[in-house]
Symmetry: C2
Subunit: 466 residues, 2 copies
């Protein structure tokens, strides 16, 4: 049988390759990665920039040698430029030229790329991948030395231009999503005066309660938040970026990070005639199969099915990629396994604040998905009120008025608030109603929770409205 060919050596691709090889060691598995990094943690890059993580290779989950040991034929610096679904081959360009590789099964794990709508000059960065992270760290960390840094395959000389100029003192961040919020913390840690620009709401998928708490925290930490502000572009001079333009005004900055979103890498699929979904990502069924025979897609380039709406959605996050890749590896190995639905569960840290969200949080989003939403936001303690360390925890819970089914929610606070969202993610998966959540037997002891966990308090209050 022709090998299981995987395009892309990150979360989805290597999860699939590893699982397939483990379940069926006789199957040949080839992974093509166009870059030099494989199996790295995108989500860790802001903490590398911040300096909370020391070495760049700390962000690598599986070293190439470990991948070899699993019997996977990993080819870095090999770009798949074409898929022929009729012939069952991919065309690969590598250091030794171009060749065709037949596949028995094919997984597209091509990932996504950062959207950069600006005419960006020097010192205007996006953050998507380890080379970006290394460049920003080199630029802002006065203690960073390319020659002594753990950089993996990145050559020290490529970073020298970033360290040979004065360290920036004022930075603009454009975009108030994960990258924007996390980079505000990361840049502030280096003493940089940070201005965060956001066209509409901060972290819009988290809803207004989280946005309000995050803005309050950012500002308390010295970040200037420019909400509802349209950035029109950057000025630059010989030394790099010199200013940011917005709302007919201008601010001098000497560094900028643009985090306005990412888009799925779908050219390879669409050029091959593989169907995309309405979200723009590759359409897949519940086993991760595209509409081409034997061709799967997973990770940031592919759609998922939403646990609440049942509809295709595109929420490119790490667990989704790992889980779908693993399921596809198992399917390819002979045991058909669904990739699972997603609840859109996500957590984000802003200095000491943690926030989580799942499902449809805002009434707007719930209405778009066809529900008649009713929503309540409450504030409760994180522990018994008398127990040291108790802090306010704010929960938003949104439900469908007719059925009482819970559609989504958010949690925010400083004391272990973020992971409390897992309770809701699990309840969404189960299709629980508000009353069912209200009666959940959640854990109580004074050091960990009040008698009524904040999620239960929100359900109690919301139950009066549904």
């Amino acid at each position: 049988m022709d090998p299981f060919v995987v395009v892309g050596g990150d979360a989805a691709g290597l999860s699939a390759a590893s699982k397939c090889k483990r379940e069926n060691p006789d199957r040949d598995v080839v992974v093509f990665e166009k870059g030099s990094w494989v199996s790295y943690a995108h989500c860790g890059t802001p903490y590398y920039v911040k300096g909370a993580v020391d070495g760049l290779t700390d962000l690598v989950s599986l070293a190439p040698e470990e991948i070899d040991e699993r019997g996977i034929d990993l080819r870095r610096e090999h770009e798949v430029v074409d898929v022929d679904t009729d012939a069952g081959t991919v065309t690969v360009v590598g250091p030794d030229g171009e060749r065709d590789q037949p596949y028995g099964d094919l997984l597209l794990g091509t990932g996504a790329h950062a959207i950069q709508p600006f005419d960006a000059g020097r010192d205007v960065f996006t953050l998507h991948g380890l080379p970006d992270a290394a460049a920003i760290r080199a630029r802002i960390d006065p203690n960073f030395s390319p020659d002594n840094a753990d950089l993996g395959p990145i050559a020290a000389e490529t970073l020298r231009p970033y360290v040979d100029r004065p360290t920036p003192s004022v930075a603009a961040i454009v975009g108030g999503g994960y990258v924007g919020v996390e980079m505000a913390e990361a840049l502030s840690a280096h003493g940089i005066d940070v201005h965060l620009f956001q066209r509409s709401d901060l972290l819009p998928a988290f809803g207004s309660a989280v946005a309000g708490a995050v803005i309050e925290t950012l500002e308390a930490e010295g970040v200037t938040v420019h909400a509802d502000t349209e950035v029109t572009g950057f000025d630059s001079d010989d030394g790099g970026v010199s200013g940011i333009r917005y709302d007919e005004t201008r601010l001098n900055v000497d560094l900028a990070v643009v985090g306005v979103g990412i888009a799925p890498n779908v050219d390879l699929a669409s050029d091959a005639g593989i169907a995309l979904g309405e979200t723009g990502a590759v359409a897949v069924d519940r086993y991760g199969r595209t509409d081409a025979d034997g061709v799967y897609a997973a990770g940031d380039c592919a759609e998922s099915r939403h646990a609440v709406s049942g509809e295709p959605t595109w929420v490119p996050l790490g667990l989704t990629a790992n889980r779908a890749g693993r399921a596809i590896g198992q399917t390819v190995a002979g045991e058909p396994t669904p990739v699972g639905e997603i609840a859109g569960t996500a957590v984000v840290k802003a200095f000491e604040l943690g926030a989580g969200r799942a499902g449809f949080v805002t009434e707007h989003a719930a209405r778009e998905a066809g529900f008649e939403p009713v929503s309540e936001t409450i504030t409760a303690g994180s522990r018994s009120g008398y127990y040291p360390g108790a802090a306010e925890t704010t929960v938003t819970l949104t439900a469908d008025r007719g059925t009482g089914r819970v559609l989504g929610g958010s949690v925010v606070g400083t004391d272990r608030a973020a992971k409390r969202i897992d309770t809701l993610a699990t309840a969404l998966d189960a299709g629980h109603t508000v009353s069912e959540i209200e009666r959940l037997d959640l854990a109580y002891a004074p050091p960990f929770s009040p008698v009524w966990d904040p999620i239960l308090v929100a359900a109690k209050v919301l139950s009066d409205s549904v």
Copy 2:
């Protein structure tokens, strides 16, 4: 209509009284409490003894005045000594003598009491209620002064005998349940050399992985754990307890706390001919109704229904009491509301360690409940491995071999491990299988969790066995 009469002014009773009065303000609600404390947090007493909580009234949720403001007729120091279910009356003995009180609905929230199998002399304590907590704190805290302490209705002079003798230096704790483990931490905080005696396993309902971690932590903190040790009694001299006898040996101690369990207060119910269940607690249906017309029972004196087995069980914990009381209050007010099932979810703190459990954790317990269990224990990180603060988290997951349904599990670790049990409690409520848990969309970001949350890792490993 005759009033809604509540026997017992703690979690179940006052939750019911408050909810009923809120939903139906015209209904008369009378609460009889035989003691002087109402609405207090049992679970907080070890932290009061430790000194982490300063005042005794900090443990009170609702002050008597707040209860008055809700329109509840609260009678403290009134003991209900008889229930006549035919006449629909209770006999109450209070400061003004004995009288009969007719009821329209009656809730028995009589609680539980600490089991004390030993012939206990002076300085051999149990811990069940605020007077016990005050006495122990007075005895062990050299900075405690009855005249300056916040003691609520407790008279300072009653505590003077406890402070007028030398502070203990060696203490025995008998019993390795919640009270035993929490009191080990509390007594150690005062510099006391603590010996913990346990007949069988520590925290048996949590399973061996938690027990092992807790013992390791206790011993690292200087507590001597005597496992599998049968205590036979205490010696005393004029100054109080002087020794503990066990295994044909003896240890000098000058304080002892016995925490070998609690038993439900059911005499009032059984004397009235109300049926008890097999567990020995009052039998109730899914609305908290006993077999007597208009008579409910809730809290530590009543059974609950187990979410996994569907069978009656007795797990006296705070949320169960509050939740059942609230539901009964709503039912009595005219809107029938189930009290909810319990998953036996519980969390405990042992110094810096936190542990949670839900459902049937041990194979023995699962087999007793009629399942064919298979169980795995894994250790995973609490955060991404490269993120500061990541710590080992150990998860045990137990499932039914035939159906794959998850039956229970535990979590233990130092970094936000305990409340991770809520994911499992919610999944148990939903009747999830191992594969369904494996595909849950739990929250991931490096500061909060690895890509695969420890619960998901356990499900991945267990899925190979079911």
